[in-house]
Symmetry: C2
Subunit: 244 residues, 2 copies
């Protein structure tokens, strides 16, 4: 049976980290909110999932339904799917390592979101623009380099080589790193101009993922939405580095 | 062998969610940064752990060392420890549910942190106080109620009864919920004054955890640090609800 992914339509957002894993694995899945109402899908099905009286409701999208089990949170979904999609290490300890790395990626994603919404998710960007400029400046100067240095260091110290974030083979963590680089480059083209020079292994990993046949096919398909200003990674030129 | 918990000394912070699980289980552990330099502990040992050239370094505290394995991130540590401490459901699906709930708690913790540091972790509170007031107002009006309503709903819909967040027995998620209520009451005494009326099952769970012998003993011990204004939950009266 196909996995059911529940996430907002119209943006890549946090759902994209799950889509990349499903696409790489060629796993059957339904992107529920993007489906048709006649098929029991669409935004109404997403809202029904959020407001359901079933046990253990999810707090927010994305969540994944696999039969009776509803799995919320990107890192949790990927931890659950990883072994089934053959995108997780076989070793139990390395699976815990992978989960830790994915949670650091999740923290970075939250910080990226807060560059344009530092005061309130419920307010428009335009109503918190001054705070957004201050937070983005700090993000570009301090936070992004700290995360990127860390990811580079993880690759350099991987005992199985710098081709992968964890272990000897492609994992969902590698796929998420691809999305991080794509997203940061979209949101902050000036601030990310020299990523390849500073973090060569991170960019090599990004490029290797981008060249995988299933990922190439996905990125060219209609299933891949374009980045836009309703997602996590938003390009507001006034938040990018002024000079470089 | 004792578990080694690595977290900053002087504050409860994110480390406290791990401490509560270790304490409830009576598990042997060393709170490394609070130990003595002569014993290879203290803040130097924490910094060495962060800057180590070992494979898979942690990005930030807290992290747990269990033999050769270094486990970072609160939710990941608790997912790893849960079964060993008998503080996780036996059912694999419910363990995934527990992890999802813990990640929602982690998101709330991050939002609480950002009430006093909405612009930059590296800046003083006093240098971002206006933004902190705006974010705290939104947190108290919208975010805290949304999270608390959700947790109440999880308890009400637990098919095994509203005594626990997941399954039939105490889990690390319940212990974390205790800490959430404690922390919110410390940080926002006015805004949380009516929690018991609005979220009776959440408060009943808090009270049940607070009455457990191992938790009572821990809270009275020197191992439990007091809340203070270097932690996640900080009491700045100007950020609390003005009227209620």
């Amino acid at each position: 049976m196909a996995y059911e992914l529940y996430y907002w339509d119209g943006l890549q957002g946090r759902g994209e980290f799950v889509r990349l894993a499903l696409e790489e694995a060629g796993a059957p899945y339904v992107d529920v909110a993007r489906g048709e109402k006649e098929d029991g899908q669409g935004i109404g099905a997403l809202m029904a999932g959020l407001e359901s009286d079933e046990p253990y409701p999810p707090y927010a999208p994305p969540f994944l339904r696999d039969g009776d089990l509803i799995v919320p949170h990107v890192a949790n979904i990927l931890f659950y799917l990883g072994p089934k999609l053959k995108l997780a290490p076989r070793d139990e300890g390395l699976r815990i390592i992978a989960n830790g790395l994915q949670l650091t990626i999740a923290d970075l994603v939250t910080e990226v979101h807060d560059t344009h919404h530092p005061i309130a998710s419920g307010l428009y960007y335009e109503d918190q623009q001054d705070a957004a400029k201050a937070r983005s400046k700090d993000f570009i100067q301090h936070r992004m380099p700290k995360f990127m240095r860390y990811f580079e260091r993880v690759l350099v110290h991987n005992p199985d080589g710098p081709q992968h974030m964890v272990g000897t083979a492609l994992s969902y963590v590698d796929l998420s790193m691809f999305q991080i680089v794509e997203g940061l480059r979209y949101a902050f083209p000036k601030a990310t101009k020299h990523l390849a020079g500073h973090y060569p292994n991170v960019i090599a990993l990004h490029d290797a993922v981008a060249a995988r046949p299933a990922i190439v096919a996905y990125l060219q398909s209609e299933r891949r939405l374009a980045f836009n200003e309703t997602g996590i990674f938003r390009h507001y030129p006034e938040l990018d580095r002024a000079t470089h």
